[in-house]
Amino acid sequence: MGVEGIGARVARKEDKRFLTGKGRYTDDMTVPGMKYAVFVRSPHAHARITGLEKTAAAAMPGVIDVLDGQQLLADGIGNLICGWMIHSRDGSPMKMGAWRPLANKTVRYVGDAVAIVVADSVAAARDAAEAVVVDYEPLPVVTDPVKALEAGQPQIHPEAPGNLIFDWELGDAAAADQAIAGAAHVTEMKIFNNRLSPNPMEPRSTLGIYDPGDDHYTCYTTSQNPHLARLVMSAFYNVAPENKLRVVAPDVGGGFGSKIYIYPEEIVCLWASKRTGVPVKWTSDRTEAFLTDAHGRDHVSTVKMAFDGNSRITALKVDTIANLGAYMSLFSSAVPTYLYATLLSGQYDIPAIHANVRTVYTNTAPVDAYRGAGRPEATYLLERTMETAARELGISPAELRRINFIRSFPHQTPVIMNYDAGDYDASLNAAMAAADWDGFAARKAEAEQRGMKRGIGMSCYIEACGIAPSAAVGSLGAGVGLWESAEVRVNAVGTIEVMTGSHSHGQGHETTFAQLVADRLGVPIDSVNIVHGDTDKVQMGMGTYGSRSGAVGMSAIVKALDKVEAKAKKIAAHLMEADENDVVVENGELKVAGTDRSVPWSQVALAAYTAHNLPAGMEPGLKEGAFYDPANFTFPAGCYICEVEVDPETGQTKIVQFVAADDFGNIINPMIVEGQVHGGLAQGIGQALLEGVHYDPESGQLLTASYMDYAMPRADDLPSFNVSTSNTPCPNNPLGIKGCGEAGAIGSPPALINAITDAIGHNTLTMPATPQKVWAVANAAN
């Protein structure tokens, strides 16, 4: 490993601009003539729109125009869609209700957009938005997903009778039932996975610019996948054909899934720019973000786990109701199905698994992928059940897991996945050693002296990253392929630009991707620039989510580098009059192996572009592109251990240590990987301890609409983390990478709840384990 190559802790190239206030986020953009938008939003969770009066608002000072859903419809702008088709077990397709970017007949959740005001300033637009008079006829409301399926509940979309979107299954029900019937022990649980708000610190923002001269649109937006945004806005929403629409996602301040989707605001601002003749910028405030950013999780499940007399799992049966909110967001259907039920085997050899998943509409914000997406729900369900089973069976939690670990690879689970590599004992042992598991009893006794209840809990997670291959996901209903692209452009002076379809919004691609190139070609990392996030600059790409950028995005770069290197070697061989098979790349030079003959990289690049002396028939230039479609998912895994002290008088939980031992395959930059784990852990701990979206069940009003009521993890809620890796390379991609972006959020919640329930000696506890809840449970138990 070089100081700047693969495996090195290289400080980030992008940091200087962020540290000096020179980052360029969407809300930082200004263009001549730009005006500001504010959306008029529904204050009702469910209502019929019976009238909309905007004359007074439009006449207010500084107001350019007020546009509504009827105008949007008249201009032919299409419905928002869900891009992953799921079929119910009866074979019928999912029941997708219409989602208008601006509601024109019915509003279905608090925050549903109804009209847009464009004005000279945000303040003027907000003044006018208050003056838009919308007449609503309130309709009955349902927010609870279980209740929404009951008879006599409000009907949210005419397309989905009984609010059921689909009733889907995976696995062999008969085999699971049979194993459960013959089991020595069955552990049964009811599992709630709490609804979360992703909360990237940069609120969503978009700037729509229509240029009548070229009939061309530009959309600056807070997106994790600008090309996908362009594709969907062109193909489905009729905003503009792709060649007339440029989408730019500049610096993006975190996404965590919530910036994958195309929301009404991007579409409406582009359309409003054409209607008004001015560039239109909208930036969400935090309350709008709570109201309208896609939420995550929100599952209610029952689980049965069957064991034989040797504590080996014989079957798992899961029944899940997943709340998808008022509309089907872009990938909402995939999350509680192929990103969830396929992971229910965990790290364990389970012969029979069956999952039934029903998704429902409610009068709440749309729910879609949030960091981990489906996999945290599967892991929480499985690892809470394993912990409970260990307590019921009277075996240590580690022992129960060891009895059931998968140890031979590849391993085909009963739920689609084919695990390619892993060493679950290694992670478990590493975590237990790092946590001094054996010393826990003494620590617990010491805590008891201080009146504190100490507990310890573990979680062994597996996840699947880099969802692929495209043909397979297509057969499962995906509307897009899940490959990635790269183009490596060597300039005439030897510096390099890499155009990637991945998008960095905190992950550090500008550094890690450059490390790959530096490592491969032996050039200084400063001579490599990573270009992303602009459909005018970068060839079609699929963006960043599902921890795919390393495993899929970098693999595409490897493929492009293969082509660049092959051509460079041909040129070098020609210049040195050597055989191209004898040319090697070393330290920025192309050398004839075993000789002192070499040409610097820059000279080869220059030769490619002067084209004065190239091999016969070779095209000038040194620029190659590649598309990479993985053969399989990757399967990161690990073991997390959490140790807590609960104050029995207040119910306050303090995390006294948190250990993460992960297997991420090969690692490009350990510093960045650790940072990803830290961030994921904080979000997982947030879910377990602090965060929860709450709606009033009667009115459908969002009760957690700001940081006053939605508890975000702060620095003093968290400990410093003890993170390490023990890695088995992924055999299915050229770099052996598995992906690390979501692991922390996937593996940590059950470790925490297992620790708290261990501390208080009572197993019934739902997330978030707030002081109030822990106090109530602990005192009920005593």
Binding site: E649, L690, L703, T704, M708, D709, T770, Q772
Partner: protein
Amino acid sequence: MYQTNYHRASSVQEAVEMMSNVPEGKYLAGGMTLIPTMKQRLAAPSDLVDLRHITEMRGIMVDGRSVRIGAATTHEEVATSVEIRAVCPALCGLASHIGDPHVRHMGTIGGSIANNDPAADYPAAVLALDATIVTDRREITADDFFTGLFETALEDGEIITAIRFDAPATAAYQKFANPASRYAMTGVFVARRDNGEVRLAVTGAGSNGVFRHRGLEAALAANWSPDAVANVTVDASDLLSDLHASAAYRANLVRVMAKRAVAAA
């Protein structure tokens, strides 16, 4: 935020005059509650009269055990006051945990008390310390000052200019913060005089704002010990209940925070 007109006063007298000339004015001290409230369009004063530049309202004076804090003194200034720390460290401790460092650099004791947010920290101290609220026109005892949620005895246009109290023999404040807002979900300030008198005030929990708990006061006057609170009943029916804490849980917190405050005093 709705349109408003900003005025900067350089003396108490000028501030009162400015206020008398505007239709729906509000005094602006640190602004750490008022500006956020206006941002959310929950308050719409026609005019703001800024008190932050009135020098006569700033500063801390300690004479023996007698303490006078100018109303425009920031939380940070109270938290780090060597003079106050010498006679009433509990107040410094309380001030050092209001909001966050940035809020403490702007927020003032007068602003906090005038606003009387049911989850604010200072009202508990003012009430338990039996402080006197000095205004441009009179002096008001703490027992008379806090009259309900966001309600005080202040008249239209009246300005708090200072807070005065005699430092108790011992005092302490214990707060259990709301996990989201970090405001007091329950805060208890307890003060004991040389003569054995105990005053104990609770913030964050009362459905009518800050209040003294006479039962706890009596128990602690009889037996100044953390254990003395164990058998005192805290009636949950007068307490707030919300997403974060039921009244029953708050009642428990009142007792626990009281116990810990006595232990810390």
